[in-house]
Point group: D2
Chain length 345, copies 4
């Protein structure tokens, strides 16, 4: 299968390429970039010198539709709103890693993203690509809105409780922490080494664009679910997300019962690993891999539950998830090409 990657010079694009490089069904990847077309790819990313011998191509939908069988869009906000309908028209299946197609309500999108929503038709067609919860729809889809990194960690952490109505509404608080690669490749004072190293920051308090995405997906699991408080922090590390999630329990659950509930909920999910009781995951334990590790603990003293969910933001939170969707859309096992182990230490 011939694959096109648009936006290959960003971190999401580079990670897609790392994964597809050893994917058994990725015959060839063609790389597209609006800003650096004509440049040999390894000049932008010297780590793939001698590995990826490609020149960046300009974006020309007509030509792409002839060249490739499948497209990944790893593009800045607003680009896929324009490109996706054109690929749809030409029957080229797409996984879009941006946030453009995730919100079903244009008004919600416009309120949180502060930009114009994508055309209604493409929004309607796009399937939210959180494979563990939406596999059936993904298999039939030709346009996937790949989930955001924080929503992936948060929704997978909360789904068993929300689906089973085990927590009170509204009580969910998500305290999320991310490595700096989540901010992308563009240099800025917020991600300048000397200002970020040996520093721990909080940002987007009460205003993070991923908030409505979490709420939309969780309320699809349980219509009475409404709102979360979501906060994001920047950790002086490159990769990794931890979501620490708090909620009031709706009954007298102890940690064992919650643990059982999670084990059962995810029994067929290849990439979710439920940790033993009292054993909490750290971000490095999923580094470079497509796993999401989750621990759950009841606090009988306060009647609350604490859930810990970790992913690699560039893999399960972006490119790995995208390939998992690519697999499902093509009828292959979801783990195809994603069997590599975390890299540790």
């Amino acid at each position: 299968m011939k694959i096109g990657i648009v936006g290959a010079t960003g971190y999401g694009g580079a990670e897609l390429l790392r994964i597809l490089h050893t994917h058994p069904y990725a015959e060839d990847c063609i790389l597209y970039s609006s800003s650096e077309d004509g440049l040999p790819y390894w000049e932008s990313f010297p780590h793939v010198n001698k590995i990826i011998d490609k020149t960046l191509q300009p974006i020309d939908v007509e030509k792409m539709a002839e060249e490739v069988d499948f497209v990944f869009l790893a593009t800045p906000p607003g680009v896929s709103s324009e490109l996706t309908p054109q690929f749809a028209e030409r029957q080229v299946p797409v996984v879009d890693l941006s946030g453009d197609l995730r919100m079903k309500e244009p008004t919600v999108y416009e309120k949180w993203y502060k930009r114009k929503a994508a055309p209604q038709q493409i929004i309607s067609e796009a399937v939210y690509g959180l494979s563990e919860l939406n596999a059936k729809a993904i298999k039939d889809a030709s346009c996937i809105a790949n989930p955001g990194c924080f929503p992936t960690a948060a929704i997978l952490g909360l789904a068993p409780l929300v689906k089973n109505r085990a927590i009170k509404e509204p009580s969910v608080i998500i305290d999320a922490k991310t490595g700096v690669s989540g901010a992308g490749r563009k240099a800025s004072s917020a991600t300048h080494f000397s200002e970020t190293n040996e520093n721990f920051k909080i940002y987007s308090v009460h205003e993070h664009k991923h908030t409505p995405e979490i709420e939309q997906m969780l309320s699809s699991l349980n219509p009475s679910f409404e709102r979360v408080t979501f906060t994001s922090h920047l950790v002086p590390m490159t990769r990794g997300i931890m979501a620490t999630i708090y909620a009031d329990l709706a009954g007298n659950y102890n940690s064992s019962q919650l643990h059982e509930l999670y084990k059962e909920f995810y029994q067929d999910s290849y990439f979710v690993r439920i940790r033993d009781i009292g054993n909490y995951p750290s971000t490095k334990e999923v580094y470079g891999s497509n796993y999401c590790d989750i621990a759950v603990a009841a606090d009988e003293r306060t009647g609350r539950v604490t859930i810990v969910s970790v992913i690699d933001n560039l893999v399960k939170g972006a490119a790995g998830q995208a390939v998992q969707n690519f697999n499902l859309m093509n009828g292959w096992p979801e783990e195809t090409g994603l069997l590599f182990s975390p890299i540790y230490p």
Copy 2:
């Protein structure tokens, strides 16, 4: 004034020495260590070569009571339970940086610390040394239980709301993050560089010893206050604590009103800096200093408040706070010898 530092080879001791080195009333410091007596201090800490020319002395309370006018204890758990009563007997004022004397209820101490509590008399005499809230009692005290690092950030962050009954009970969740120096100087696999770097960990879920310390102090501000959910995380950095705190508001407060309430509450507190609305502190902005920076924001969408409170765990969370108490006990302005600026970047 002649000062004794017991446990000078730990990080708390070293930081005390750094601060007292330029304190105008610290005439001389004598350094004591049970494990390394006889060793020149700079062999343990080469960074003070040519600055601190002292040999570590064995611990002998009788002799110390003659040599020094004031004692700081920066010792492992259980040591001050034994030493403090002996100093009290000899009228030597003490600031104890350990957790031994913080809990007023021996049963609570024993439940959370899993060791025998200190003698009742010394517990009763010890004053909890959070200077911003307890200055009056500290001025008259001869034995101070210096606060824990997490409780300092958390209590200062919550006090204005608890005191003013502006939040519902029980709704407080404290998601705390600390640099690795909080784990002390002893090497362990949990603080091994290769396992800690580029990693974000959670630990002591629902079981952290600092939980009852926070509850005790907050319920002294408002007797109806009862319980918090407290979680601690390890950040791949050396210094700094951020406590992100969530609570349900008891009324229709907006961010401006909360900001006013904090400004007023801390108007006379030299070391608390209330950040402007929408401006959140990061840990590096207090690095090496005695400041506690706090931001507060109402989320009208969820009816909750988010509070962000940052300190340097070794300064305001340990040695700087100890010197602030030392100042108050001696009738000097609380900021004496603590005027140095944060070091940035």
Copy 3:
């Protein structure tokens, strides 16, 4: 093929397992540990939870010789001196990742390592496993002394010049820098996070055990080669080695000529990437991969050459090199199972 890994709970062992997990000819891995036998492997390394479902086995050469077709020893100093002869006796091929069998002169070993050398016979049988320079001997060997991490970077960086007598003797200075994982998994004050982070250290000045290994291999390329000055530094990062190498040029070489010489020397070496003139590699550009990236530059002003050579110390500097040797010994292409790209960022 059934493979035994001895010392699987160290970083070298874990990295072997990560690589062999997707190696096409590694049918099964059996894990041995003297200190933790009986323990499920993922309890020691939670990152392979659900991936490696093995229990650590005790070391019993007799039994191992029946169970496995090939052995990797990733053991502390002194262990392979004892184990390797026993495997040799039973015709089990071995790659030894320790330093026990690297030095051909027992007196040299004993002087630098300050411990007893291995038996003469096994030293004689062991082939130095730097695949790029010794492939022929490796193919016929049944016992491989896998190179040290620093020697790998240094020797690959110097070989073209030494072989072509392009530098004066003695003028070689190797200034090497390593990530902290090179110090192994055991916690120590030297690798304690708070003492290592935001710190740059030098160690083993003029005394590093890898010095004679570099000299031995280079003098095998050119008998007139004698001595190097070698210095090692600890970088606050987990993985990666850079060797910055200086030498006086023996003729009027310019950068172009040197670049040509390197391109030619390594034209058939899959894992050596010679960088373009003026383009220098950084350690992250080989992170997690088996590549060695090299740049070379003449300084016409001083008549010297500067060579920069980077590897991932746990891959090309240990486990990846070991698998490359394993491939050669079995007649497979050297890159088998090692095609994964560096992970960046």
Copy 4:
């Protein structure tokens, strides 16, 4: 004394302010910035909120000459070439932290800096401000060219050997490593966190602007001294420089003799600490302080000497050195206001 700081929004300016904030003779600091005038200083650097309550002033030499008694220039390349002559005309003493006035030969400056040299007269007047070697001239100067960060570490490390003709010429190789703050405050892809963290880079091979500065100063100590090979590396940390220096010994020196020579050479230098034989400094041991720690070791096997020299690039390598010169120019002890200890860990 009233002090003007031009370029206060860079790291050098911020560090000057941190130091002068507790300097006994710095009555007041006025802050100037061409790009951010009108802005309250703490908006640019929130860490000095409530500490420095100043608004940035536009640069107007006439007005400054009336307002201040002394000026520090912490400005980008080219600015002091223009400003310094104007201050000289008005008899305002200046310490210039940029590289504009360091090179005595305009052609050398223009070759390495690739820009126009400053006017000859101001170059002639400017005294090179490495206090340990030039104190006498500094005391009489009214215009100081403050040394570069790398030259400070390198020259202090080499001066005793060069002055005593203990090394052969040309044999000096300086392998230097710096924290990222040396690159300044402006965000760039080279200092982007995700590209710099967990990475070790080399840059400016054979082309670093600090090379001729080192050569100029060392040849002033010994006219037969000519050339050095100088290489710079970027360490994933914020502060600190280590220069590892190699040279061929001109005689049969052992480490003891070299150690004596260094002790004697620096016996009156407050801020140079010669480490005991076999005890090597790391960068964190001078973090935040004005010390330069040096170790020296002979390698009898190769006839070479290895010197290790560490500083904090923003203190002894910039702002601290500038204040040391300010002290000397005003007739105060050089250590005035610089007595603070390194901050560790």
